[in-house]
């Protein structure tokens, strides 16, 4: 099938993006509206996230990719993943912080301009998860950096990830980084 025909078919079908409002208070679309307003207030329509894998099993990365895809479509809320920490407002850290990654993580943090927020995503990033106690991990992002938000789960679902970013915006709206659970 040619690209033109496929594009035409998609055009007729409409977006694949899940739309709402959904009954669930954590529903994606409701979340998205709230997220959008707060982002605009605080950061002028944009929040830029740099992801750092600090020893994750790659499970969290798969769900971040899902959030970036057309179904959850994070970018419609003004939130975007960026390639460089120098362009980022938020560091989204996964993994129990392997000691071999700790310096790279710290350097990425230093390279991120203030104001900045750190999100620990996934059970490993929260407290080391099932790797806690190993000689090779710090056992959670809070051992390396000040953490503003934790999003537990193994891995957190895309809905949880979106809902976590909303909580982060609550913190941002109050005027600065503060640890919340």
């Amino acid at each position: 099938m040619s690209l033109a025909r496929l594009l035409f078919r998609e055009l007729l079908r409409g977006p694949r993006t899940i739309d709402g409002p959904l009954a669930d208070p954590l529903g994606i679309e409701q979340l998205g509206i709230a997220l959008g307003e707060r982002v605009r207030e605080r950061l002028g329509r944009s929040l830029r996230i740099r992801e750092v894998d600090a020893g994750s099993c790659n499970g969290c990365e798969l769900e971040i990719q899902a959030v970036n895809g057309p179904v959850y479509d994070l970018e419609r809320f003004g939130i975007q993943f960026v390639a460089s920490p120098r362009h980022a407002d938020v560091l989204l850290v996964t993994g129990p912080v392997s000691i071999n990654m700790s310096e790279a993580l710290l350097r990425t943090y230093v390279a991120t301009p203030s104001p900045k927020w750190v999100v620990a995503m996934g059970d490993c990033a929260v407290d080391g998860g099932c790797f806690a106690g190993s000689y090779a991990v710090l056992g959670g992002v809070h051992h390396a950096l000040p953490v503003d938000l934790t999003i537990p789960g193994c891995p957190p679902t895309p809905e949880k990830l979106l809902s976590g970013l909303l909580a982060l915006l609550d913190v941002a709206a109050e005027g600065g980084p503060a640890a919340i659970r």
Binding site: D53, G55, E103, V137
Partner: protein
């Protein structure tokens, strides 16, 4: 004596260890090990794995002529063992890891640099019987020297531009052309092997499912099968079929995403968008039918802990139908895009001889004429009862790895249909008796064959567990495949290999 003999003939005179299942394990003395190295120069025996256990090194071998598998062991004198890397280059990084973790020295290994140990842990040789003293500080890693006129280096990572795992790539280039790529990994080392020791089977199974999160089902099956082999247990028939069902869904989700992601690295983002939608349909069906999007912790030693309901079967049948229609359409679209193929055809060629030398499995191996698939050889239930072919492509380029995935997607869709059609009834789980033993398993994940070796104590706890990811034998080949290509084609080569970082960093 050198000669063309089978692996089993060669080992028949050796001392077999009792209680190693399902394949035999033979203990060699140092002379026997040296003889084996000589024998490996003339025999087509593939190195399946190489790991240490206390003061012993173990090598798993497969005879390519008759598919026989055996483990050979050597007790190290003076904490040294003769290196296999000269005759089986795939052994080099495994031996460097053994040196880092166990303090056993591979004699004759040309590369004296550490691999997993970056000099940052609070101790050295963490798995040795006597642990080493803390290191002096981070290692300044000496990359291989490159000499020549007008060469420049590009250092990439460990933090990459995209949302992917961390690792360092050091490119040496002449203009746009890559003269050499050197990988440096180990950044995600979590101490998995050390952390496994002393765990109960349930705890260790959970850990095994998080060695490489994208292959959680395959790893969980490998661990469960190794535990079942060690204790002489056979999971009930329905459990085997349920495992295969989840394993094929995992393969589909990963292959589809990889196909889209490779095209995206050639700036054709439409394909990634389409594939992400399809992948999401699979993950949503997983969550609906089995309660977890990535199917973590659903396979347990002794069986599985989920069943597929009648509604679940209907959902999955519908999913297969939809996926078949749409993946074929996307395959045709790829076939219809010369501008895309301009980037993929002839790019990143892996030669079949090299793939064979490294015993590369999975998509990487099969797209370079290597027909290995653990579902067929050695085979395990229920695949011996299912009708499927293993596609192979000879070209070894990015295009071949794309078609390999597209073909394997169709095979897996057929398998899911057969499994749903013919799944037997009965229990899902059988308790594992508390007893000691040694077990090994080979399971085909979406990247290739995962080897799991396990020794249990009499009270049923893990004494030693070694998981060997297929990427051990694929990462080194990426260094070869990129040579002579332009830097801009590295993402295509890398993504089409899609090796695991967490799986090899352990």
């Amino acid at each position: 004596m050198l000669g063309n003999m089978t692996l089993m003939e060669y080992l028949s005179g050796g001392r077999a260890v009792a209680g190693h299942r399902p394949w035999p394990r033979y203990v060699l003395d140092e002379r026997g090990w040296l003889d084996l190295i000589q024998q490996l120069t003339v025999c087509d025996w593939t190195l399946l794995g190489l790991w240490a256990d206390g003061n012993e090194v173990n090598a798993a071998l497969r005879d390519e002529e008759n598919a026989a598998i055996a483990v050979v062991s050597l007790g190290c004198q003076d904490r040294r063992f003769p290196s296999l890397a000269e005759v089986r280059p795939a052994a080099a990084r495994l031996e460097r890891s053994i040196r880092d973790l166990f303090g056993l020295i591979p004699e004759g290994l040309a590369d004296s640099r550490p691999w997993l140990d970056h000099g940052r842990w609070p101790l050295s040789t963490p798995l040795a019987i006597v642990r080493g003293v803390p290191p002096m500080g981070p290692v300044v890693y000496p990359f291989l020297p490159v000499e020549g006129e007008s060469l420049h280096q590009i250092a990439v990572g460990p933090v990459h531009a995209g949302v992917i795992e961390p690792g360092h790539f050091r490119f040496t280039c002449a203009g746009e052309t890559v003269v050499r790529l050197e990988e440096r990994l180990g950044y995600t080392h979590k101490g998995v092997e050390s952390h496994m020791a002393g765990k109960t089977l349930a705890e260790a199974a959970r850990l095994a499912g998080r060695i490489s999160g994208d292959s959680t089902v395959a790893y969980a099956i490998a661990f469960a099968r190794a535990a079942e082999a060690a204790t002489g247990t056979e999971a009930p028939p329905r459990a085997h079929w349920m495992r295969a069902l989840m394993a094929e869904l995992e393969r589909l989700a990963n292959h589809i995403l990889d196909f889209g992601a490779i095209c995206n690295d050639a700036a054709f983002s439409f394909m990634l968008a389409q594939c992400t939608v399809l992948r999401e349909q699979i993950l949503a069906a997983n969550a609906l039918c089995f309660g977890h999007r990535l199917l973590m912790d659903k396979v347990i030693p002794g069986g599985v802990c989920v069943d597929v309901t009648r509604e679940g079967t209907v959902t999955l049948r519908g999913l297969v139908k939809e996926l078949r229609k749409r993946t074929r359409r996307l395959g045709n679209l790829y076939d219809d895009m010369p501008s895309l193929q301009d980037r993929t055809v002839g790019t990143g060629i892996l030669h079949a001889a090299l793939a064979h030398r490294f015993g590369a499995g999975g998509v990487v191996g099969r797209a370079a004429s290597q027909a290995g698939d653990a579902r067929k050889v050695p085979g395990y239930p229920p695949y011996d009862d299912l009708d499927f072919e293993v596609p192979v492509h000879p070209e070894g380029d990015v295009n071949a790895r794309i078609w390999q995935r597209l073909d394997e997607i169709q095979v897996s869709l057929g398998l899911v249909e057969q499994i749903l059609e013919r799944m037997p009834g009965g229990p899902l789980h059988k308790p594992i008796p508390t007893r000691g033993g040694e077990g090994m398993a080979l399971v085909e994940g979406f990247r290739g064959d995962i080897l799991m070796w396990l020794r249990l104590s009499e009270v049923g706890r893990v004494v030693r567990c070694h998981p060997r990811d297929p990427s051990w034998f694929q990462w080194p080949l990426l260094e070869a495949a990129i040579e002579g290509n332009i830097v801009a084609d590295f993402p295509l080569c890398n993504k089409s290999f899609n090796c695991s970082y967490s799986g090899v960093d352990l």
